[in-house]
Symmetry: C2
Subunit: 481 residues, 2 copies
């Protein structure tokens, strides 16, 4: 049966991410350029160099952004892989009936005003619409969401999303957070294979997307923002299967009383208890994060680094109180800042002047950080030290402002070289945002590092959280496998 | 007796912050410009337009940076209020003997290599030196520290510290963190009355400085970084007296096992237990913070805002998932995001289109944030709502990049106006650092806000922590008074 074949999510989602034809329903030629709607969706496709065909659908317009417009979906003279709905909620049933008739494969319903309003008639409209689609063999993303970003497929909901493709997928119940995460990820060097904003999840749900991404060769790391699960069991089973193959990082919204209330007016979800969520993460190997900063830090670390074998870190780059507080932050995050092995300490003592410095962990050894030869010797000792699983290194771009610029150049080169020699993950904190001048230097260095595949973190706390999250994931895998 | 009079910390510390004459001992004319030493201390004084007299002391040089140099402190043809020691540890006893002879009032010992090395003979040298000073009536800051920054008095240890004076004092056992905090504070609009880096605390200790600052009219808010207390009882009594007059924010280093070890090699302090520290804070009304970010956020909030009367906040400026996660972060920080009063909800409903928005708390009302008239009406409702103690508002400077620049101009003006009308504290988050272009806009807006006395926070977590810390301090005061 055609309907059943279409229900095989794994094959069919490919068409969602790589549609050959897209109808944009409700694309008014006079749309406000600052409000999302049919017109801005078309602009996103044009800007992303989408290679398929775009068919605007509008009851009156002849053309939209130079493209010939059609009166309804079933008048489009082509098969339709994906239809984007940007019409009033009251028009959704009619447009869906056209899509069923036309045998459209996927629809993405941008329109809001359904179950998330808390109104009974609106919730009923959503479920009627979902039933109509299901019975007609049409798969639905949404309603109340931004849909799909797949740079590879030339699909995006915002015209200035990066067109570069990469190994990170993000499955988000919130379109706003999905967009924000893409923005935040860009300067950090996070690049995406697929991003989905799925809103009220009237049909396709988080676990459907995870199932597809588990097999997607272009995806190596998966992040997710979830407000509520309609089918907790299916999610649990899917996550458990997924995490032994690829890491899954989840930011769960609605973990507090107030947040849980907000969830119900946002996507009509039931947030569930914080304790249950924590237990689910422990059992499935999900890495749970609590902020956009921790999400970005953990994802970029998974994208670029091999997880540390354990929680033991060496800390370098602080001085005095900086070393003390970095150590506190590391241990508070769950890491250990252990004694170094005797061989390392004796080795370092050979070239580190003891005055005002310390070869104990945290290493307070400024003289080493400005001397490429000493730095490389330090790296070799840490590489060979079995008591060290990873290195956390704080580098201040603004120091270069006080010296010649070449100082930063030397520091960047020696750090890239050191990261290669270390053979253990390097969590590099790069600061410098206090002055605009310092920030420009920081951005330059950050780009050089990203280009060399070295992630950078803006604060020590983020680096420590990422290191801990990766080491815990590694521990889960070791116990599991 | 002269010695006893000098021991009256409160009178005498004034001379430390506003010395009329400073001898810099160990000011080599050929000092490395990138290493702190006698020469860089003199440069700091010159750049800060220090109005007193500076006397370089050097065994061989005739002049240092154009100033006539003397062979020893007792050859200086003037009274000496403050002598800065930048000499090898082995020379400190001799120089101190000269200072006693010369009846120098204060010495700041920059020199390291004493008890913090963990070596017995070095610890003995420190205590011998402290005894010599005490018996000779000389008060000592340090050793192993950066000394004093007092823009009002023209005293600074770095030439590029701001010369502007302000209401914040910072008492730090670590010179590195003191300098870092001054840097971090600058773009946030934190300005300083006095900053002290006091290192090993061989004589003057944290509570001595707090005692002075309690009475200092130029100081309204006090921050501190502490690794260990030599006289916990004196600190406890002082803090308890101080906090009913001025807020005291403390970042305690060495609260973890690794951090505690690091503390002993940094300032030879004994860090003490985390639990004892927490109990001490509860009993004394100290606001305890755990990172440079939380320290800066809390201090700038205390500098510019009246503490909220309670923990109930309204949240504005998120959208969708942003609202949900901001609410989670607020409640996780200890705040409450309560239902708004009926009057507020009914009032907002009059002009907020319900479609895709929410007048529940968190307020998801984008249309209001781009309409000065609606914004001002919203502010009036929140001002009059007895269920709301403070407003947390997230503003994204990068939105202005998508629209015309005038958009940001309007937003800034209407926010400054709104903050005035609110009559409750406004915790404003200002983001925009993803692109350099956005960051430049953010810095512009931040300056305008700082000029209007409105603090801004770079992340939601920081704003929430600051709001919670202030509301807890207010609660302490209410119970205490």
């Amino acid at each position: 049966m055609a309907v059943d074949a279409n229900m095989d999510t794994n094959n069919s989602l490919n068409t969602l991410f790589y549609p050959k034809t897209i109808a944009v329903v409700g694309a008014s030629p006079d749309g406000d350029p600052f409000r999302w709607g049919g017109k801005t969706f078309i602009e996103g496709l044009v800007k992303q160099n989408y290679r398929g065909k775009v068919y605007p659908v509008h009851p009156k317009a002849d053309t939209v952004l130079g493209l010939k417009a059609y009166r309804s979906v079933d008048e489009v003279p082509d098969e339709v892989d994906l239809a984007i709905f940007s019409v009033p909620a009251s028009a959704v049933m009619g447009v869906m009936a056209d899509c069923v008739k036309k045998r459209v494969k996927f629809v993405h319903i941008f329109t809001a005003g359904f179950s998330e309003t808390g109104l009974e008639d609106r919730a009923k409209l959503e479920s009627d619409m979902a039933t109509l689609a299901r019975e007609g063999g049409v798969r639905v993303v949404g309603p109340n969401c931004m849909g799909v970003y797949c740079p590879d497929g030339g699909v995006a909901w915002v015209k200035d999303f990066p067109s570069e493709s990469g190994p990170v997928a993000f499955v988000s119940q919130s379109g706003q957070l999905a967009g924000h995460f893409i923005e935040v990820g860009k300067p950090r060097g996070i690049t995406f294979s697929k991003v989905i904003s799925y809103g009220n999840a009237s049909d396709l749900q988080c676990h459907d997307f995870l199932k597809y991404l588990a097999d997607d060769e272009k995806t190596k790391v998966i992040g997710s923002y979830i407000e509520g699960l309609k089918d907790g069991r299916a999610f649990f089973e899917m996550a458990k299967k997924l995490t032994v193959r690829k890491p899954l990082v989840v930011w769960k919204g609605g973990q507090t009383e107030g947040g849980s209330r907000a969830v119900s007016s946002h996507t009509a979800s039931i947030a569930g208890s914080r304790h249950l969520w924590r237990a689910l993460c422990r059992q499935t190997g999900i890495i749970s994060v609590d902020s956009i900063e921790e999400l970005a830090a953990t994802i970029v670390a998974l994208q670029d680094l091999t997880p540390p074998k354990g929680p033991n870190v060496a800390i370098v780059g602080g001085a005095g109180g900086g070393s003390v507080t970095m150590t506190d932050a590391a241990e508070r995050a769950g890491l250990k800042v252990p004694h170094l092995s005797e061989a390392t300490i004796r080795g370092l003592e050979e070239f580190v002047p003891v005055h005002g410095q310390s070869v104990k962990n945290p290493l307070d050894i400024f003289s080493v950080l400005v001397n490429p030869d000493h730095f490389s010797r330090m790296i070799a000792f840490l590489r060979d030290d079995p008591l060290v699983d990873a290195l956390i290194y704080m580098q201040r771009a603004e120091w270069a402002l006080r010296r010649e610029r070449v100082f930063l150049e030397v520091a960047v080169r020696m750090t890239i070289e050191g990261a290669r020699e270390l053979k253990k993950p390097l969590f590099l904190i790069l600061t410098g945002g206090q002055t605009l001048e310092g920030d420009i230097l920081r951005r330059e260095a950050q780009q050089r590092y990203a280009h060399a595949g070295i992630p950078t973190f803006p604060t020590f706390d983020e680096a420590a959280q990422a290191a801990y999250n990766l080491s815990e994931y590694q521990r889960y895998l070791t116990l599991r496998l």
